[in-house]
Amino acid sequence: MAESVNDSDAESRISFGDYVVLKRGDVFKSVQVENKKKVIFEKQWFFLDNAVGQLFGTRFEIGAGGSLKLKAAKHSGDSLDSKEAGQDNRHILDDGKSQKLTRDDIETLKEQGLKGQHLYSIVNVFVYFSHLRYDTLAQILTLGNIHAGSKILVFETCAGLVLGSVMERMGGFGSVIQMYPGGGPTRAGMESFGFPSHFHETLHEFPLCKVNALLAGTLDLSEKDADGNRRSESSQETSGVSEERSSEPQSMEVSVDQQEEMRRVERERLREQKAQEKKVKMEEKRKKLASAAALLEGRNADGLVIASRFHPCPVLMGLLKFIAPSRPFVVYCQYREPLIECYTKLREQGGAISLRLTDSWLRHYQVLPNRTHPVLLMSGGGGYLLSGTTVAADSAKTRNQHKSEEHVAKRLKLDEISSA
């Protein structure tokens, strides 16, 4: 059946540079559509060029030379070849045909923030890269009350899967601040979500190593900050080079080589250009740091999501300081004991209620006439979650009041005894 090319829902079509998900049966692969680039999927080589201009959900066949052809007729999906209850396999012939793969089902899906299709597919792809099972991810997003318009802190080392999922649920409204360890935030997985560009304006990042400075109010956001040393070094570099340059031509005058001179000029130009680009980048970085700091210093974020390989306890205790009261937080850990520590610490410190340590079991079923039964049980391997709600921390005043009341009570008792 021909494609009803009725774009009344105004959908966009596949273009070069888009991230798409290839699907055949239950196997998925995320790839970028690039000009004349060979893609391998399910032991087949082909080019995605012919997919450009088509709508998502289109089915293709692989033709000669690895080019994609639109699939003409729709055929019924693969049927589960399982035995019906009571039957046996004595009559099955091995004619070799069931082994050969004659037709490929390649659905090309486009993931877009506003028109999200088949996130399930994307999530499945990432199951292979992350120990974060999708039902655990589902709990994180719901327990964290992730929704449009809020300000969410995320600390994750799941290659951007958690970050992307949070951003998708925010729909481009509100803001997400990604806290990151080390040099810079990793977001490879997030790119695959294919968000429209305005989503990226809601995404901020802030380095963990500056958290204490921010909390203490000593974070330096002036232009000389953040690798200020490096900047003065680079300017030294350029001046050093230009000195070199001015000295070199003199020594070169002996053997006049115009081409060589042109190349030197060109190299110098490139060096200056690079120095300038570096300057611009530094300024951008400083601005980003300042905007993230501005969002954080109010200490009124609406939620916190932690899903990393780091020990969750110090991360949680450190980042909770930025969260407003009466807001949810969710911490994922592959293992239980670190979360038990978090739970205990929070109980001692106060400031959090409704603490729950959970994990989920997921069971798949095969549902067929006379052949219905469970097929897969996933338990324990999905990791654990600690969730809770922040509350106003006990003020020092009330704590002291309590203490002094205690002292008074004791004194009275002694007095009673002495007067008796």
């Binding site: 088949h118 009350n145 038990i340 209620i353 069971r363």
Partner: protein, 293 residues
């Protein structure tokens, strides 16, 4: 306050959740001049609530204290007045992810029931999406409409009092996702399909019994749905506590000058024990995809 948007300060007319401790909570509607009785004493709305920050500690008249929380669909699910059996957060979370709900999604749901899932959907699709929910019981439909209004989300939802199996959802060709929690979901598949966008969409059917699931899967297959899958998800809550384990006494060690029974006789361990019985079965979740027309 809104169930779909946070605010900082409690205002008159807000619905707030009072946390009394140890999984004990209750919702109250804030009204100037009103009082709410709790086991710790009375909460005076005008002085204790209005103008206070969400998350604050409130001291009640008898001296005990409580916390005042901002409502969320999750808190609502465990505190709402039951008119029917409801869906709990574990199932709701998976439904939300697998139906790919997000801001802007248009969703159809039947039955509305007590509104547990409805509130969660509304929160997820706000501010640009819409929920079309169908409830065949007139009183429940009315109550649901009332609650959505009180919770400041009525602009995001339309409640229709009709039978989804006979009359459908009241709209066609606009839904990204359809959710069914009715006794005979196979009777609503045709309507579900026509409610969905031409470019396709996702469907979920929740049924407590496997026979219902079988009939539903058959109907889905007949109607050309794909990626049909049925699953069940169960949450295990771990009880975190400190336990005291006594240490054995093997008697004094050979050559040791220590007197017996010195040192520790027990050790405190921090651990988490799973519950003796896991949460019971709630229902089977069947998901499917309607392909492009």
């Amino acid at each position: 306050m809104s169930f779909a948007e946070y605010s900082e300060i409690i205002q008159e007319g807000d619905v707030v959740i009072i946390f009394l401790g140890h999984e004990s909570m209750m919702p109250i509607k804030v009204q100037s001049g009103a009082q709410t009785q709790t086991r710790y004493g009375a909460i005076r709305h005008s002085s204790d609530l209005i103008g206070q920050r969400f998350g604050s500690k409130v001291t009640c008249s008898k001296g005990g204290w409580v916390y005042v929380l901002h409502p969320t669909p999750e808190l609502w699910t465990v505190n709402l007045p039951h008119r029917t059996q409801i869906l709990y957060t574990t199932d709701i979370a998976n439904i939300t992810l697998m139906l790919e709900l997000k801001p802007g999604s248009v969703v159809c749901e039947s039955g509305t029931g007590s509104g547990s899932l409805s509130h969660s959907i509304i929160r997820t699709i706000a501010p640009t999406g819409h929920l079309h929910t169908v409830e065949f019981h007139a009183q429940r439909a009315e109550k649901a409409m009332q609650e959505f209004k009180e919770h400041k989300v009525s602009h995001l939802v339309t409640v229709r009092n009709q039978d989804v199996c006979k009359d459908g959802f009241g709209i066609t060709g606009i839904a990204d996702a359809v959710f069914l929690d009715i006794p005979s979901p196979w009777e609503a598949i045709t309507h579900a399909k026509s409610a969905m966008k031409r470019k396709g969409g996702r469907l979920c059917s929740f049924s407590p019994c496997i026979e219902q699931v079988q009939r539903t899967c058959e109907a889905l297959l007949d109607h050309g749905f794909e990626e049909i899958c049925t699953l069940e998800v169960l949450l295990r809550v771990h009880d975190v506590r400190a336990i005291n384990l006594p240490l054995p006494d093997f008697g004094p060690e050979e050559g040791s000058a220590d007197t017996p029974n010195t040192g520790n006789t027990s050790v405190i361990c921090r651990t988490a024990t799973p519950p003796r019985e896991m949460a019971g079965h709630t229902g089977y979740l069947t998901f499917a995809t309607k392909p492009r027309d």
